[in-house]
């Protein structure tokens, strides 16, 4: 487990402030147009925040998926037999900040003719047909 989210927010406050100022300059080079509704500004800011969060999740999930050793295929969750390498599979997940996608290592059980993600432990783990 890493740091607490509130702690990270404090730590990156200055850096995020710089990014926010930079984005504001890009978005509104002449300053916020007169008559802009607060809800419009809130929607734009929210969308940018969401996209930043979404990319942050995606980068980290992909990195962790890539870190899984290719040779570590584990055992078939159905029969417990040895597995062999299969092509990586794309995965998509709906998060509170939008969809994130990454590619994940896949193992295949020749006996069951089923594939599974060797990096996942028991909860929700189930083999699937390719």
């Amino acid at each position: 487990m890493g740091k607490d989210a509130a702690e990270i927010r404090r730590e990156f406050h200055t850096r995020l402030n710089e990014i926010a100022r930079e984005l504001t300059r890009k978005l509104y080079p002449q300053g916020l147009p007169r008559g802009t509704k607060f809800s419009e500004l809130e929607a734009v800011a929210g969308a940018l925040g969401d996209e930043m969060a979404r990319q942050l999740i995606e980068i980290n999930v992909q990195e962790q998926a890539d870190d899984w050793p290719e040779e570590e295929l584990g055992e078939c969750p159905a029969c417990g037999g040895p597995a062999r390498k299969a092509p990586d599979q794309p995965r998509v997940l709906l998060t509170t900040r939008g969809e994130v996608g990454w590619k994940q290592r896949v193992a295949n059980c020749p006996r069951c003719r089923r594939a599974f993600f060797p990096s996942e432990s028991s909860v929700g783990r189930r083999p699937f047909r390719l």
Partner: protein, 418 residues
Amino acid sequence: MGVDHSGFSPRVQQKIVHAGVNSVSYQQASRDLAELADLSVAPKPVERMARKIGQERTDQRDAAVESHKRLPLMAKDAVANPKRSCPQVAMVSVDGGRLQIRSEPSEPKQDTQPKQDTHWRESKVAVLETYQSDVHQADPDPHVPQCFLDLKRTKEMVRGLGHSLPVGLEFGVEKQTSKQDEAAEERDKRESRPGRPERLVRSVLASRQCAEEFGPMVHQAAWARNFYGAGRKAFLGDGLPVNWTIQRRHFGSFTPILDFVHALSYVFSAAFAGRPQAEGEELYKRWIQVVWLGEMATILPELEVRSAELGSPPSGCADSDPRNLVFESLRYLTNNADKMRYEYYRRQGLPIMTSAVESVIKMINRRVKGTEKFWSEPGAEAILQLRADYLSETETMSRFWLEREAQASSGRVYRRAS
């Protein structure tokens, strides 16, 4: 990383299940998610997710009950966790709710089943509450509350319980004398009933299981909350024999208490049965004060005499027939007389009404009950479990989500060497 195959992140799953269980329907949950969380999730995935998580929770519950059943007899009714403090006052209350169950296509049609109302089935609900209260030397509230002397309101309350009433009973707004006004005003000024125990933490159980299976569930839940080590313990019911069976089997050390309002409903109908209304009013006010004091020995002989005067109800007589009303009241109050020592319960700082469980049933009904709502058996069990979990103040769901994610992320995590 604690990600399953649902296609939703753990935070999104939590929001979906929260909406699916706490909104009035899966359709409404889908709309709430879009409006409140900017999440586009169709009703069907909301239903699937709620079913899945509900099943996981019922599996956990059943495993805990099985594990509790295997404990030695003495340990079952002992303090579960000596490191945690035991409640000062523990209260368990059991009642039943209703919901419609869709019949399975393979289910053979039974000619013996009644034709109408065939989809309505009972659910079991239990509320476990802790209280803080003092023990009193004398009854802290010896006068029956004014609200129970307001005959118009009391009649509506009795009718609301589904109790039969004598035909033609009508009450206008009562004219009060200035003395009565003063007394009523004085009582209204009270923030709450003197000596009334202060509620602390509530947990809820709800299931379609029969009483035989539900009793051990409530037992385990009470045990897990250290209820068996409480200073004072009460088990409240509405007089239904099956509830007292659960009390005898699983809560023998708890004081059984009949809900005062249910007792009142029988006293009310018996007092007015076959009498002029004015006479009934006087009698009811006298009787209900006696019941409030728990002096059942005073009114049971009066009821016996009255029942003998009217005679036994013939078979097939109307529910509102005075003979039936008095006979049923006498039977009910006689059977439950030992659980109506209200003066003693108030001195002990114990609750005397089942309003807690009835209020919870209303909250559960808001989700599960409706003429247009039909559940499958697994769907009903899942939604009842989750509705109960969300109504519990013991942070059941927060712990569940944390443990679920921790379990899912317990695999080895590899980081590149920098």
